[in-house]
Symmetry: C2
Subunit: 465 residues, 2 copies
């Protein structure tokens, strides 16, 4: 499907230009004014074309619990999340569709799904999410969430003796499962990549990290993990390793230019230097970090140290949306209160670059994705600049990233294939999806988490609450 977008606004270094964009065989063939029309002509007048953004960290099946988990910090929130996690793959399918749709309609063309696996149906869970993403046509980076320690081990023991039940699946079995998933589903050329993705130092042994490194090297896979999301994890790392989590991950060789790390809130300056040296990527999830009270990640420090930063929505139970433009806005302006000097604040154009090429870098695909560049894949988004939320006309990128765009995404292409047109997803029936989500759920205000009840007293003691 070749096409030419005519008279569309694009961002230049520090201004805008009106150009035509030719796409041939899924890649950008030419960008210049008044080009010959190749394939279908598309009217770009009063529209802005930007590279697709990356929803660089989420957990799709959390959609099933959005809006319902009360205000709790991560450790207790997680206990409630797992008590009510969906256990059938039909739900995994629907929430992956929902995550893809909301990401697309907020400017994203790629999603990194740190996918929660249904115990006993792990490969099926992965297959289901892959199927959903292929149906929608979004570029997917499926990152099966693995651990080999049980949930209670993620809370520091403090002065107390804590015994944790062994995790139900062995480290070896988990690694074999991931390798099998890679063999079956890792098809970067078809728009689906698998990542190794241990959940984080709080619930994973070194053996699991090491196994993931080996798989990553063997199959050329990117690496993903949570990192230092909470104060509790910071304490736990000291207790577990006698050093910071970043120092430990560096020592075991997990960091690098194919490694993206979600959250990164409680890092020391020396840790930041390590992230810069190893060229690791920070995925900033501002909404989740506020919602769970995890803290404000030192994003301005990362940028000053040369660490690559991009944005994620995080799972929809801790956000509780999958709106990437919301994450970009809050993830930009939030840091203005952390540094009085406004010359360090993130500008709208910097935010767009973080969300696009920053995402591509963290997934080792910056040669193919993340900017409107001849030769790169045609993953991009056309915004309707006549949407009420983007009026009156001022600076289009400022309106998009500082405003609250509503119904502003007009069209989306991934790999040159149009999957949103006139603001509607064309590849699946979204009204049917709404009906399915409705039918598979019920209004609920009275549920109680048994695990939270079990963990809460200990948590409050350890955190001195």
């Amino acid at each position: 499907m070749n096409f030419t977008i005519q008279n569309v606004l694009i961002a230049t270094v520090d201004d805008y230009a009106t150009v035509d964009v030719q796409v041939v065989d899924g890649a950008i063939a030419s960008i210049a004014p008044s080009l010959e029309v190749i394939g279908t002509a598309i009217n770009g007048e009063n529209k802005l074309l930007l590279p697709g953004f990356f929803n660089a960290h989420t957990h799709s099946s959390e959609i099933w619990q959005r809006g319902i988990i009360p205000p709790l910090p991560l450790e207790l929130w997680l206990a409630q999340l797992y008590d009510f996690a969906p256990l059938d793959t039909e739900k995994v399918y629907l929430s992956a569709l929902g995550t893809a749709v909301e990401t697309l309609l907020s400017g994203g063309t790629s999603v990194v799904d740190h996918l929660i696996l249904i115990p006993g149906k792990e490969l099926e869970t992965i297959a289901t999410a892959v199927r959903a993403y292929k149906e929608v046509g979004i570029r997917a980076f499926v990152s099966p969430l693995i651990q080999d320690e049980s949930l209670s081990a993620g809370i520091p023991s403090g002065e107390t003796e804590q015994n944790h039940e062994p995790f139900f699946r062995s480290t070896q079995a988990t690694l074999e499962l991931i390798e099998e998933a890679v063999r079956q589903f890792h098809r970067p050329d078809e728009g689906v990549s698998l990542l190794v993705a241990p959940t984080g130092i709080q619930l994973c042994s070194d053996a699991l990290f090491q196994g993931c490194i080996e798989l990553s090297n063997k199959y050329n896979l990117c690496r993903h993990s949570h990192l230092l999301e909470t104060k509790a994890q910071e304490k736990l790392a000291q207790q577990k390793y006698g050093c910071t989590a970043v120092e430990h991950l560096k020592r075991i060789g997990y960091l690098g230019d194919r490694t993206s790390l979600a959250h990164c809130i409680h890092l020391r300056d020396t840790d930041i230097t390590i992230l810069a040296e190893t060229q690791s990527t920070v995925v900033h999830n501002p909404l989740s970090n506020l919602r769970l009270g995890s803290g404000i990640a030192p994003i301005l420090k990362y940028r000053q140290a040369g660490v690559n930063v991009t944005f994620g929505c995080d799972g929809a139970s801790s956000n509780d949306s999958q709106d990437l433009l919301e994450a970009i806005k809050i993830g930009s302006i939030l840091h203005n209160v952390t540094d009085l000097d406004y010359q360090h604040w993130i500008t709208p154009r910097q935010a767009v670059e973080m969300a696009s090429s920053g995402g591509a870098k963290g997934l080792n695909m910056v040669d193919q994705l993340g900017s409107l560049t001849v030769g790169k894949k045609a993953d991009f988004v056309l915004y309707d600049l006549t949407s009420l939320s983007l009026l009156p006309r001022t600076d289009p990128i400022g309106l998009l990233t500082l405003g609250r765009p509503t119904n502003a995404v007009e069209s989306v292409w991934v790999n040159g294939r149009q999957i949103v047109a006139n603001g509607k997803v064309t590849t699946i029936d979204v009204d049917d999806l709404r009906q399915q989500l409705f039918q598979h759920s019920h209004w609920d205000t009275k549920r109680k988490s048994e695990t939270v009840a079990q963990l809460e007293a200990h948590y409050r003691t350890v955190m001195s609450l």
Copy 2:
């Protein structure tokens, strides 16, 4: 126009109920299951009815500059804002319409417009905004923004000698203008109230505050002001009064249960006690406070001290939207990072109460507005719970305030009059508004503010940057 909404979900103390709601002569006549239909029957199935929220602090004409002012702190941002402020009332009219529409479509039924007056056309500016709000049908609290000192006086002098030009209009003339506006436009029964609204201690003399108090007493007007939005204002208050701004406002008698104060970021604990004792209301503008790097208002402390708090969007150049649900979400979760104890965090239901009855309290109308109560005015909003952004079904209020509702407002009534139906404003032509906003503006990335250039060096010195 009498009507009965049937089978609609409403919030009870800690749950939901499905009821019918009868409205007679603009007021709620009955709320119970299976009521007789009076007037038009409206299907409330799979919809949530909530009291209308208050956009309790904004500046409508800032819409003309949304998205364009670069990352700057308040004092410099303000200089740029004023350099490019619209000077014709046609623009005032269009931006008031835009503010009303965006407020309505995000759950608001009332707007407090701290209205920037065009010099020399002050009464005309007020008349124009009043006309726009009446046309849309939103409940309006028009608060003409007044000052009697020139802009540069708002920056602390530090060690330097600063001479400020006198403000172009005398204090007396300003007060006469406000009194004339009150005589002409203050019609609470018709949905338009005027407030006295000196911009704040940074640009107003005591004589201006005193004159406003007198007008407030004479005409039973509510009082509004900015308060301690920035560190610079905190410094300035000490320089100007030798005490905090709150202590000074208490001393001159400006505080009270009809007084609402926007921002309230840099307050001491003793100031908080004063706000509680005087029953003053804090209007929390979280997006603006982040965008301008003003700081995080100590909202959890206010709540613990018993201070009434509600939400505002603030003007659209410092936000840069007028989406009240966004302000409610961020204004709730932002504070989870300020207090480790999650038992103090704002719950979704508390957020709704702050946005509705909290707003009514601050405007001295809690006997008439702010909750679904028999006898109160029918200012309420019907949300479509089958919107993709509110699915799957979990806790409706959690989804609404923690999620990112899109196209979720189905209907809005103000004073019993329906002004939004099927997600569309029915009282004005929004497509025409879009065209007008488009035609009265142009893409702009190159503009420079002369006043910022003049003030910046001094600002950086005083703020030790």
